[in-house]
Symmetry: D2
Subunit: 397 residues, 4 copies
């Protein structure tokens, strides 16, 4: 694993847990973790339970004992590490967004497609697909329970930088993060809605905004919550100010393949919304609603029921019949944020062991990147309607 | 009153009730109701409790006994009636949207401004401003409880025409209704968000869609619910089909004066959403959330509270301290949809009796019309960003 | 109508509205209202829209022009007025609880049964039966949708006397009110659960408590909210204290005919709960949940649905298919507290006009009274299990 | 650890995770797990990550390498194992309810008190105290935010045996489980409400019921969900029927030390309620509401706020300021059912390492047992009011 902060901690919990919960054809060994600071990575290895540590990610790629490289770094290093790992025949799990640019993402997707022939697997870490309620949404849409999709409304709202004194962490710097709320959380709702509907976004009209344009440079700060918000913060120098080079919020309207209208919103300025990823999909036969802050629940409106009994049914997605749940606790005993990482680990291990390509693929990651890029360009051009190319054509091009 | 269908029934309930609940400086007399069909208007006058009826709206304008003309007809007749009434020195209450075109609305607004000098009052029927929770929202924003507004997200979702066999009622015909979901329900969220924030929408980028392009011509049909959906339906001729000439749904992104980003959505295709007007406003200090299907409630997030106690507070807006509520029932005894019409009646009677101009004015109505027009033009031009002129400048022009 | 405070205002709104909304075989005329204070009743008659007023309730009973006597006074005067009215051949609507004692209630029920032979109708004002969601509950239980009833849990929670300085209004005086939270709001959940399940409470074990034992004697105070809490307050004398002679709260466990277990709670000390009447009924096939603060909604769990789709369905009870609703507004346009009084008026007028006995009858009112009495006796005897006699046997006895 | 089914799996996840999340003064080693069936316990040791396994629980008590004995068996074996472990100087964590009888619980509590002198720690596994929202409730009550407690209403509702064909697992057998819903889930709400209020239940009046009196004897069945419902099921013999010897449901009213009224309900027949532990506490200054199915949330009504802003605040208990949460994920990233076991492990390890006695103690466990016993006796005696002895007196006796 490369990186050991917020995402690294979540992935470690998954690798540690997966064989304790699921019967799998392979046993996970947490072999080697990589970070830039030798003292910190040693401490992380010890705390998170990795056998060894290094400050050189190439050691993971070169080691004969390593089968899988798990990339949990900021987006600016995804492409280099992933390309090297694929070239070395390692299976790769890469955090989202796949890359910071379409060019990088295209190269990664092409490499991943080429590696498939050699049985090398790759997966992009859109873990929310593996929240059981989201997987169930996909299943219900695929079964035709919604009929023709008419509307998608998706928002991913947070509020952790509302305070103008919140420091200029790496997630607010374009060279490291690529974009702001758009790529960090907007990427999730783009992927999730494309996954659940089985459709692509074909065009967008967008506005982005940076409400607070200067922020204090970060002092070194500790604590897990701080790390969570801005893991890998460069050692800070004190009270000086620096420019925020990414968006604080992005909103856009879009169309899907089959003509549905969609609205998207990603913001870090939605006061009171902590991790509020909400997706609603209206079809001709029904509606599904999901909220990540209540991730064990799914609301379903079934318009084929008798008129006097129609309503939004709050499904508590904790039954053995629900995706991934038979391995966990009895009905009503809820799971949390980190469980989806265990589900991701399970599916990746199974895919590798059984020789199939897992989803979301790097091509899926590229598809999201193409939307992010279209949003950015639309916003730069005064909300001009901007076409989104299909990823498969982009890879082929 | 002109018109006696859905809106006419709601207005009648308000006129009948207002003096029974509020102490007012004037007593309302329900003098004369007008409709096109003499038999039906006679039946309506009897049922709704009007003293007399007519098929000629000019009788209202010309009668010396009538002080107020209440216009509840489809939008295509608003301008003619309102202009005549104002010219005759009658106070006018005109249902929303103010008109079917900007040109008409501008003329009406200009006439209303001119009439003010003579003490003639006019009001546009955006009743939802007078839902107590919405009035409370406005009060809290005006008091600075939200700080700087960052985001507005507004949706008005219904589903009554999801079925492609639902007939081609007047609300689906452009010549009568002006537009579809946009003008009928989108107008409400445009007005409400401008009212609550005290800001204007300055530009939009929009998509509109007509999902079902042909519908059966309506047969004559009765029943209050049917009237509600399509009051004043022309006598139908049977199973023949006709073209839907308005939008089924409209989505747009927008900016407000002070730089906030906004998303708007109006749809009649949101399966399961019956009358789901939802508005959320995020500011630097707090957030407010309203849902018309639970109109007695207001959610408030106060970011100035101690960190461990912050959360969305569900205010049950039924206390004597809340707008309009001291006249109704004890706390927790909720009010319904029609009560806002009584509040509107109260405020109009008070404004007339005390000689002040009520809000929302015809200029406010024009402001909404300018946004509706910008949305339509943006959608026609492939979601091009479209500037919205201030209404006051439009009136002056 | 006798009495014109909180209940009188609600009943007046219903009498005024009922013919405007429903097609009925008779027209209501609001003929005569009675109160003890001649100035106040005159003012009330004017405000609420009654043709005439009096301070002698016997005038209603004796008048040839009056068909129906509507009793909205405190419980201590119900029996005398109702018995006189029935004896005079007037149809009677009597507010709940039917009386302050079982003895009075039994006499009233017997008189009502006797009067039926002469075509004289009587109804006890448990209006909540006519909240559409509650009527729908009854319908669904009667259709077998819940299977065998296993549990009833019912609470009616308010908080208007939490403050020890709240004055000693009539509702806190045993001689006028009979009991406190128990008879005022507990009576509602007793009636509602017996109505919805179609079963009787057969025994109880109870605790009652008066948390605040002395309160200030009420000064004369005005304002509708104050009236609502304590209508008909005796002219107060200032800051002196008097004893609270009724319960502040009552809790009890109970059994129903068919063996279901039940819990009941009525309190005026549930801080934050304004009018929170909540009933949940669990059966072998499903569950229903109702909350008066969201009276337009009903939750239904249908255990016969596929396992992966089961959940609580929030039915928005505003469809034409729902009880009483086709006469009101389109789907999603909610109704309020007072509408159930209009439904009550409708059903009473129809029953009188068509010559059938309406429900809830005075015998139903007696049944509630028998439970109230058993609760009181159980509490007095240290929560001893106390049998509840069937009302029909009580009437016969 | 003794036992490896549902509770064993949850405890194992906690022991495995605790040092990865919290900085602790000691490292946990998962040394030895015990079960009756050698093949199954070997499989469990492998799957759950224990170093070794045994079929003789005395090996844990006798081993020099073992510091803590974690008892996850049915209640009939708690006393014997715990007493032996305490006698051997092992720290003990014992699942709830502490025992199947008051006599056993009293002996265990006495032994635990005696062992304290020797620095031997003991804890009873009421893990729900360590749900962050519940710990927060306790903190807020202790800080006086609720004022004087007036009401407690607590229900723990499940529905996993509604089907009469559900087999006769050990949890339905009195000799193994002691009681049914009462001891299994009722114990949780008894402990939680006593913990949160800091008060004792002083007396009860109860009804218990076994709705389905005969059930099929269980066949051997596999799957984690099945284990969860009835772990340690004896090998079944087929379709024969056996008697259910425990309660399906228990309801009771109670009083707390300071005069508050309380209602309690524990049921496995509440259709649709999967794991619905709900506690509401009303005080003179505010109210708190908790629901285990949404365990990351706490509702708080603060009656000291301005009247127009009062309401139930939904606190999302995921902030660094909330108990236990700074070690987990960023705000809004929810935790699940099993996390409370990790919190329990943390607190136990810290208590042992720092030499303090943890809570809940065995005396706390005895206090719950005394209430369970009083409920059972009250129900047997026709709901007679039954006094509950203080545990400290019971230990001394």
């Amino acid at each position: 694993m490369v990186g050991y902060a917020f995402m690294g901690a979540a992935h470690s919990q998954a690798w540690r847990t997966v064989n304790r919960v699921y019967d799998l054809p392979a046993q996970v060994r947490m072999a080697l973790v990589c970070g830039r600071d030798t003292g910190k990575v040693a401490e992380a290895a010890d705390r998170l339970g990795w056998d060894a540590h290094t400050t050189d990610w190439r050691r993971l790629v070169e080691s004969d004992e390593i089968d899988v490289v798990d990339i949990c770094t900021p987006g600016d290093s995804h492409a280099e590490i992933a390309l090297a790992a694929l070239a070395a025949g390692k299976h790769v799990l890469c955090e989202k967004p796949l890359a910071n640019t379409v060019a990088e993402a295209r190269e990664m997707a092409a490499a991943a497609v080429a590696a498939q022939a050699a049985g090398v697997r790759s997966m992009c870490g859109f873990t929310y697909r593996r929240v059981p309620a989201v997987t169930l949404m996909r299943r219900m849409v695929a079964e035709g329970r919604l009929g023709t999709i008419r509307h998608v409304r998706a928002a991913y709202l947070q509020d952790w930088i509302v305070d103008p004194q919140f420091p200029l962490v790496w997630r607010l710097q374009k060279d490291k993060a690529g974009s702001g709320a758009l790529g960090d959380i907007g990427a999730h709702i783009i992927d999730m809605t494309q996954y659940v509907t089985g459709q692509r976004i074909t065009g967008v009209s967008a506005i982005t905004e940076t409400f607070v344009k200067q922020r204090p440079l970060p002092a070194e700060y500790s604590g897990l919550a701080a790390q969570a918000a801005g893991n890998g913060v460069a050692d800070g120098q004190g009270p000086d100010m620096g420019p925020v080079t990414v968006d604080d919020a992005a909103v856009f309207v879009a169309r899907l393949d089959d003509g549905a209208l969609a609205t998207y919103e990603a913001s870090r300025f939605a006061t009171g919304r902590k991790n509020a990823l909400r997706v609603e999909i209206n079809g001709s036969l029904g509606t599904l609603v999901f909220d990540l802050e209540r991730l064990n629940e799914l609301e379903f409106y079934d318009a084929t029921r008798p008129a006097a009994e129609q309503g939004f049914t709050r499904i508590l997605v904790t039954e053995a019949e629900h995706p991934y749940m038979s391995a966990w606790w009895p009905p009503g005993h809820i799971i949390g944020y980190e469980h989806s990482f265990t589900h991701q680990a399970r599916d990746l291990v199974e895919a590798i062991a059984t020789g199939v390509d897992p989803a979301p693929s790097f091509v899926d990651g590229l598809q999201v990147q193409l939307v992010l890029d279209a949003v950015t360009r639309s916003a730069e051009l005064g909300s001009t309607w901007t076409h989104v190319e299909p990823a498969l054509e982009a890879v082929a091009a």
